[in-house]
């Protein structure tokens, strides 16, 4: 079966970069949640979620980003989000989550 959600990971000293591609919905969201939580607990670094190949997300995925943010804050770290497509950026604005995360162009 074709995989709907894929990851690529790049680590540097102070930043963990997660490249997310595909679709995050209720079916694929648990994989995203496990991936994010594992990364955060194992590395305790600032996290960049790179989304230029993320084609779809809805509240299920946004909720997981919020959960991840709470986790990162426990370690006094930040989540940066980059490369959001217009339709997805709109969802961050609608929900006010653009003020919780550090959104980069």
């Amino acid at each position: 079966m074709s995989s709907e959600l894929n990851f690529k990971e790049v680590q540097s000293e102070n930043l963990y970069e997660l490249y997310v591609s595909g679709e995050v919905d209720i079916y694929t969201s648990q994989v995203l949640k496990s991936k994010l939580y594992e990364i955060i607990d194992a590395n305790q670094k600032d996290l960049l979620i790179e989304c230029s190949e993320l084609n779809y997300i809805d509240s299920t995925g946004l909720g997981i980003f919020v959960g991840a943010l709470k986790k990162v804050k426990q370690y006094n770290k930040q989540i940066y989000i980059s490369g959001l497509k217009d339709n997805i950026k709109k969802l961050f604005v609608i929900t006010g989550l653009d003020k919780l995360f550090i959104i980069k162009e």
Binding site: Y56, S59, I94
Partner: protein, 131 residues
Amino acid sequence: MSSSPDTIEMSLPFKPEYVSVARLAASGIANRIGFDVEVIEDIKVAISEVCSKLVGLGSKISENYTIAFTLRKDRLDIIFKCSDDSLKCLFNNSNDELSLSIITALMDDFELCTTDKDYLLSMSKTLKEKG
């Protein structure tokens, strides 16, 4: 011959893996009315929000829920139906804040809490002339 609007219905199991099937069908239907790509994406998200909520709750009575699309000249009406009346007034929880803000922002008309109708909820998107 009939002048009543076209309707397309789709019934889906209460399972996460089929929400993407609803999105695919919705994109084909919205394309037929003439919505542009950006609006089609919005409609897909709004429909997914409802499907995800239904799938999360599940039903002890019904195997499937139904999405009914009514294709009007300049409007797409979408209603969700299910024989399980316990699913009426779907979004009544404080955890639904994200879904509710998304649906209300993306759709033009919606009736998210109905208890006296033969459907669970309704939403519409109107085709706007390009400025």
